[in-house]
């Protein structure tokens, strides 16, 4: 496992037995652009080489802070953004960006929007909002009413007749989010891609919506990719989690592996700052602001903020030079716990807790 492996070749031979239903392969999305908060011009490498698999019936959480590229990656997986490098595969076949193919793709892979108040048309009834996707794809069908009712019922709006003629303002936040989900379910998709599906909801409602997502997986065999900043959401519903930082996945594995035994210093910091986290070493508050995708640091992209490098622990492990000069290889996106960190690779991650405690508590 050389650290300089070309991202294009590193995905060959991932350890999956079955073809994942959805796969990102060395995906890169770059935006050329105007002036950002830092005032810099140039190309923003929003997604900078990401491999990620979603297996059939699997829920994968893509977590990270704003600006890490998770929304761009989710949009790319939906075919809404065209990768500038790498490709997206659905059931093993590369996604074609011809508009007819995309249309067909989008009925099988559905987007669940973030903000239900913003994504529902306030002047449309629940029926009109939910039926929209069906009409776009199939025109007016004879069983339209039944299919809308069934989608509402699957989204937990029961009995559906009670909701059909209501307007968004007559619904609670949780009910609106259910309408958005019903709109995604009407075409019987195989994969849901959800971007912060519960971010704007109250905690008690959030739990109900997350439970619905688990039910949909259980009853309909749906797969899902959920982009979120909320690690608790991943713990609540996901099978696997990928942590994104500045356009790259820096740690991937099962939820238990990544959230209970995190290896990457960034993942560890993220977990440690959760209020009430109970992390014994205390919070590791990273200084500074989230970095700028227009100016990705050389070497490990996390090195300017890395507490392990700053504390000298990386130097003691003999990897400090690599941290500042060698970009860790792109992680394979299939099953297995992987970390893009020279230090974690050297000290063997959380199995050697003594070497870990020092830097993390400082």
């Amino acid at each position: 496992m050389s650290a300089e492996t070309d991202p294009q070749t590193s995905t060959v031979g991932t350890d999956t037995d079955e073809t994942p239903i959805l796969r990102a392969e060395a995906v890169e999305v770059a935006f050329s652009s105007g002036v950002g908060p830092g005032g810099g011009r140039g190309t923003a490498r929003a997604v900078d080489g990401v491999d990620l698999d979603v297996a059939a019936g699997e829920i994968v959480a893509l977590v990270g802070e704003s600006g890490c590229g998770k929304t761009t990656l989710a949009r790319t997986l939906l075919g809404l953004e065209r990768p500038t490098g790498g490709r997206v595969l659905f059931e093993g076949a590369p996604l074609s960006h011809r508009s007819r193919d995309l249309r067909d793709y989008r009925r099988r892979v559905q987007l669940v929007q973030q903000d239900p108040m913003g994504s529902l048309n306030p002047r449309r009834t629940v029926y009109e909002s939910v039926v929209e996707g069906l009409r776009i794809h199939e025109g007016t069908t004879v069983d339209e009413y039944e299919r809308v009712a069934r989608a509402l019922s699957r989204a937990g709006l029961r009995p559906p007749e009670r909701f059909l003629s209501r307007y968004p303002h007559e619904l609670s936040g949780g009910q609106r989010q259910r309408v958005v989900i019903a709109g995604a379910l009407i075409l019987d998709p195989e994969v849901l891609v959800a971007d912060e599906p519960v971010a704007s909801l109250d905690a008690s409602v959030r739990g109900e919506i997350l439970r619905l997502m688990l039910e949909l997986r259980e009853n309909l065999g749906l797969s899902a990719l959920v982009a979120t900043h909320d690690l608790g959401l991943a713990w609540n519903i996901a099978d696997r989690v990928a942590v994104m930082y500045l356009g790259r996945v820096v740690e991937v594995g099962t939820v238990e592996e990544v959230l209970s035994a995190p290896e990457h210093p960034y993942t560890r910091a993220l977990l440690s700052v959760l209020p009430d986290s109970g992390v014994e070493e205390g919070p590791v508050v990273l200084g500074g602001e989230p970095p700028d995708p227009k100016r990705v640091p050389t070497g490990c992209r996390f090195h300017p903020r890395c507490p392990v490098l700053a504390s000298g622990e990386a130097a003691r492990a003999g990897v400090a030079d690599m941290c500042t000069s060698v970009d860790p290889e792109v992680l394979a996106g299939g099953p297995g716990h992987r970390t893009a960190c020279h230090w974690a690779a050297r000290v063997g991650g959380p199995e050697s807790p003594r070497t870990v405690e020092g830097p993390m508590s400082s």
Binding site: E65, S66, D202, A203, R206, G207, H229, G278
Partner: protein, 347 residues
């Protein structure tokens, strides 16, 4: 009645053509200097209305009764001039998304200087120095004073708002969802900053949030609101980790604890919706969603009772539920259901 803030029987009713909407119903709060009190609740619970009422920021025509003593002075009966002086100097507020209220065409430094100049807190020639000091206090380099807001990230702008709130050295800071919508790392930075300011300057902080985990980590005491009332109040750790009221308990369970097998692949919410404030249910407002509901709940809206009181009936914690401690005895002994419902309708 000393103390920094003492709120007694606060009632706020929004009036509109469609009728009166009670948003806050009989809330009591008190806060000492150097103390932190968290108010938790979901949308429509009345928590932000409480924040607005404290500095009389509610829309005209809103009916506010009760007493709000800020350092012994009643905010509700203050003259306008006095109220203007109290805002910023006595107490200041940081709202959610406050960073969006920065003027985009004025430099950061000038905006922080404004409350200083208006209130004459420091002599004009010292203003620049004070602005630099404030920026450093919130972890921003003094040179940022020269920048316009668009040069700053969201977290930095929210810190500028905190610097403004601190400008006149208020004795009380009201933080209403001040870190909501910020990234966890920025949230952690800002919470650590607020905690440090409370500790170093001995100011009081009233922190209002939907996020129970934030309150439990930051505040000494927490009050949980539901449908305009406080339903449980006490030491933060107890209220969050060992709640007595069924609503507080459901709210606490809705925040997953990473690493806790009980919440793994088992999200917990609360079925149903909060009551329509214009048409609340009889008795306990939580009754329609409560798993422990009994017949008596339809007629009794219980006051806050001590939870597991000691021999002399004292407890650090109180909850408004007939299932709590002396709640049932109290109701059966002290008042009949009839009386309680009269009291409720007379609001």
């Amino acid at each position: 009645m000393s103390g920094l803030l003492d709120v007694r029987d606060l009632n706020v009713t929004y009036t509109s053509g469609a009728g009166d909407v009670p948003a806050v119903r009989g809330v009591d709060l008190s806060l000492e200097p150097g103390d932190t009190l968290g108010v938790a609740g979901e949308s429509g619970s009345g928590k932000s209305t409480v924040a607005l009422a404290l500095l009389r920021l509610l829309p005209a025509g809103t009916r506010v009764t009760g007493r709000i003593l800020l350092e012994g002075e009643d905010v509700l009966t203050m003259k306008w001039g006095r109220l203007r002086a109290v805002r910023w100097v006595g107490a200041s507020v940081v709202f959610q998304g406050a960073m969006h209220s920065l003027n985009p065409v004025r430099r950061i430094g000038d905006q922080i200087a404004e409350p200083l100049l208006v209130h004459g807190t420091v002599p004009a020639k010292r203003v620049e120095e004070r602005v630099a000091e404030l920026l450093e206090q919130v972890g921003l380099p003094a040179s940022r004073a020269q920048d316009h807001p668009h040069r700053l990230s969201g977290g930095q702008r929210q810190r500028v708002m905190i610097a403004m709130a601190l400008a006149c050295e208020p004795r009380l800071i009201i933080a209403d969802e001040a870190t909501t919508a910020l990234d966890v790392m920025i949230q952690a930075q800002i919470l650590a900053l607020l905690e440090r300011l409370v500790e170093e300057n001995g100011i009081g902080m009233l922190m209002i949030s939907h996020d129970l985990s934030v309150l439990s980590a930051t505040c000494k005491r927490v009050a949980v609101m539901y449908a305009g009332r406080i339903v449980e109040e006490g030491p933060a750790h107890q209220v969050v980790h060992d709640p007595a009221h069924p609503y507080a308990s459901a709210l606490s369970a809705a925040f997953p604890k990473i690493g806790d097998p009980a919440s793994r692949l088992a999200p917990r919410g609360l079925p149903g919706d909060p009551p329509d404030p214009a048409d609340p249910p009889s008795g306990c407002a939580f009754r329609p969603r409560c798993a422990m509901v009994e017949t008596v709940c339809a007629t009794v809206d219980p006051p806050l009772w001590p939870v597991r009181p000691d021999a002399v009936g004292h407890s650090e914690r109180r909850a408004a539920c007939v299932h709590v401690g002396s709640g049932r005895d109290g109701i059966e002994g002290a008042s009949t259901p009839g009386e309680t419902s009269t009291e409720e309708t007379s609001r």
